[in-house]
Amino acid sequence: MTMATNERPSLRRRRGLLAGVAATVLLGGVGAAFVLGGGAGSDESDLPVLPSIEEREPQAFDEGGCLEAAPETGGCDVSAEQLDDIAAGAAGDQFRILSGFQGPRYTTDLTRAAVVVLEDTVADAPAADGTWAAQGLARNELAEAALDVSVSARLLDAAGAELAVVEEPVIVDDLRSGEPTPFVLGSEVPAAEVAAVEWWAAAGSTSAPEAVEPARSGQITTYFVEPAGDRDPVEVLDHVDPAGSKPHLVYGSVAGVEGADVTEPSIVAAWLGADGRVLAVEDERLVRLGAGGVLESLDATGLGDFLLVQDGPTASELLDAELALWVVGS
């Protein structure tokens, strides 16, 4: 039910982030290292890679920088350098593990030079009252960071007449070059009346890639996933599973990396089904370890936990879904 994407100029600003971006630049924060592409003016984006895994976990590597299950053999099952390359991901839309992001669809290909809707990820998600709604991914394919990105949809009936135009900000505020973001759009138009949709996305402004990095940096770790349905109950953080059918749970943490300066840090999650379309989207604040409470900020040595709880209509599909995660701040 989607149609071709049209690039449109910026429609409106969501928040006054420019001042925040300027402050970040003045503070001189530098996030994770960048690798690959050619940066501004290039058709390839730089990737915000994590510090080397050997740097993050030195005790787990031998003097030669190897993970070695059988050290007495003198071999090297895999080197830290190889693991870093694997994490950065191969070309195209494959899964990547980066600073502040892990999942598919983070690209280095900027040939479209625009903020775009990835229409092959968009799924209809009608509201309970039958009105139209959809969710999917948009992506910044500019060489700069894209701020105040919004996604718009023109809803058309079977005759091609316009029913409504809706616009919403995307979930991840400061989109780095090549980075995807989930979005959710809704309308009061009954879903049954919508025969086609025209999509487009736009950025309110742009900034230098390094300007947004401190507020997007962090190493994401997923500890466990518990499926929805009939299973043993779990108590974690302040969550206690209900009696009866249980929700889908994802428990993990975000650790600060060098240069990280995330205020009101949150984790954003999007689950993608086998067909690549978005099944669910969630946004949760990180919480402090130990005494509990929300984590106010995340710096280079900080750590915060997250728990994602999904009990919606697609919860039973999420165990086998591909999970994309973002670190975001205010």
Partner: protein, 495 residues
């Protein structure tokens, strides 16, 4: 992994034995609060302590304190009772996601090709993403080496403990919260048993040398077919060291895997179930991109062409040092008499054809250049362009083979044991008549009037063949490649 569902009572004697054998650590004097001594593998214990000592931290916690944090989750995660050492090979039995079954289908007949998501003493799960354990394979999750599971656990515990606020107990709970087994406070109980907060030393642990760093996992040399070798690991739940209640059928809701191999191939963890271990009609393989959750990223294959060897002394995938004819097969290989197949196998039970036997015998005799091959083919079905023309003609010229009455050699027919006896008898430069001992008949199915009585008695006399335990020689049976190797090696040794 569920706790305490299976109780075993075998460990007390084992503990005593291990202490007598010089275990690396021994029962410490119980201190308040007293707790039952817990048995643990000596090498895994030393690995955990080494990993704790090597782990940097941003707060004050002693090396033994960090080691105690790391150790405390293990009994709950593995289900081991206090008197039996937890097994580093422990495999999770809870997750029954369809993706974990062979071909992502729980209803096939290959339920033993099951991808256990949680592995090892700390039950590291591939959901771990960018963490070191998410980037490792099952082998790293099992091995307690510092460069593997112990190092992963110590790093995560230190990071979480030092970032937590609150009381000591709250901080420990925060350090342990990724581990399901700690939810009900069980890990705090274990911690207090095994760690003296006054002396800041571990206590109440009993070492056993019967549980090693790999918990029964074995290092192998693998290749894809006859390609270059690489290190792989063999994981067989039946060989698990320490508490193996998790490997019993009723322990959890998932199947127990059949033995499998694991290795890294580029950016993937690969697990392979060979039919020789599973009894299935096909080999099964599965790959997971390192760093990704197996449940959404696993891909299954119906073949893999994996060749696994126990040691570098082993030439063929399917002939390990424990094979009955290992020495003989290695000998024919070393001598250049017989080669394996392109897939790296020797196929020891395969039948030997008459053309292959001709080649083996020709090579056994040193591939002589004389007499030269004739310009006209002797046999109507072995032309000059035949792959084994030279070998067959040479044997014919030596009087070893003479073909059939219709002028054919029938090169693809199998070689019988009686024919092999005749070939070797004729090939022998100084064949002796059967000794007095065998003037009767040695085998109850080879009487004196058997057309190959003399040849068969001869190879028995010189020690080349000795028949079957039922007293027969089975002269009409086809010779297998392993038997051929033995005949040729013994023939050579007799000269």
């Amino acid at each position: 992994v569920k706790r305490g569902l299976v109780k075993r009572t075998t460990a007390v004697l084992a503990v005593v034995a291990s202490l007598a054998a010089g275990a690396a650590f021994a029962l410490a004097a119980p201190a308040s609060p007293a707790g039952a001594a817990r048995t643990f593998g000596s090498t895994p214990y030393n690995d955990v302590r080494a990993a704790a000592a090597a782990t940097g931290r941003d707060c004050t916690v002693s090396d033994d304190g960090l080691a105690a944090l790391v150790l405390s989750v293990i009994w709950g995660e593995t289900g081991a009772p206090t008197n039996e050492a937890p097994s580093p090979m422990t495999l999770s039995r809870y997750d029954t996601s369809d993706a974990l079954y062979a071909f992502s289908n729980p209803n096939t007949s290959y339920r033993g090709a099951f991808w256990h998501a949680g592995v090892g003493l700390w039950q590291f799960d591939s959901a771990g993403g960018s963490s070191t354990w998410g980037m490792g394979t099952a082998a790293q999750s099992i091995s307690t080496a510092t460069q593997s599971a112990s190092g992963f656990a110590a790093g995560e515990m230190a990071r979480r403990y030092c970032n937590a606020s609150g009381t000591g107990a709250q901080r420990r709970a925060a350090a342990w919260s990724p581990w399901n087994a700690c939810r009900s406070g069980g890990c705090e109980t274990v911690f207090r048993e095994i760690y003296n907060t006054s002396t800041k030393q571990l206590r109440n642990l009993v070492g056993t040398t019967q549980v090693g760093r790999y918990g029964g996992m074995e290092t192998r040399l693998c290749s894809r077919g006859a390609g270059p070798t690489f290190t792989c690991y063999f994981i067989d739940p039946a060989r698990a060291q320490g508490f193996d209640g998790w490997a019993t059928p009723g322990w959890g809701s998932s199947p127990v895997t059949e033995p499998f191999y694991v290795y890294r191939d580029g950016s993937n963890e690969v697990r392979v179930w060979l039919k020789e271990h599973t009894g299935y009609s096909i080999d099964i393989a599965a790959t997971r991109p390192l760093g990704q959750n197996v449940r959404s990223s696993v891909t299954w294959y119906s073949s893999n062409n994996l060749c696994a060897k126990v040691s570098s002394a082993q030439t063929y995938c399917d002939v390990s040092p424990s094979h009955l004819f290992f020495d003989e097969i290695e000998w024919v290989s070393d001598q250049g008499i017989a080669e394996g197949y392109a897939d790296g196998d020797f196929k020891p039970s395969a039948a030997v054809s008459r053309q292959a036997m001709a080649a083996f015998l020709y090579r056994l005799m040193g591939s002589p250049s004389s007499p030269a091959a004739p310009s006209t083919a002797t046999f109507t079905d072995v032309s000059r362009s035949h792959t084994f023309f030279r070998e067959i003609e040479w044997l014919h010229a030596r009087g070893v083979i003479d073909g059939y009455d219709d002028g054919t050699y029938r090169p693809l027919n199998g070689v019988t044991r009686q024919a092999t006896a005749a070939f070797l008898y004729r090939l022998d430069p100084t064949p002796n008549s059967p000794t007095a001992r065998s003037t009767g008949h040695t085998f109850r199915d080879v009487a004196r009037n058997h057309p190959f009585w003399r040849e068969i008695e001869w190879i028995e006399d010189v020690g080349i063949a000795d028949g079957y335990s039922d007293g027969t020689f089975k002269p009409g049976a086809t010779v297998t490649r392993q038997a051929m190797a033995a005949f040729l090696q013994r023939f050579d040794a007799a000269h």
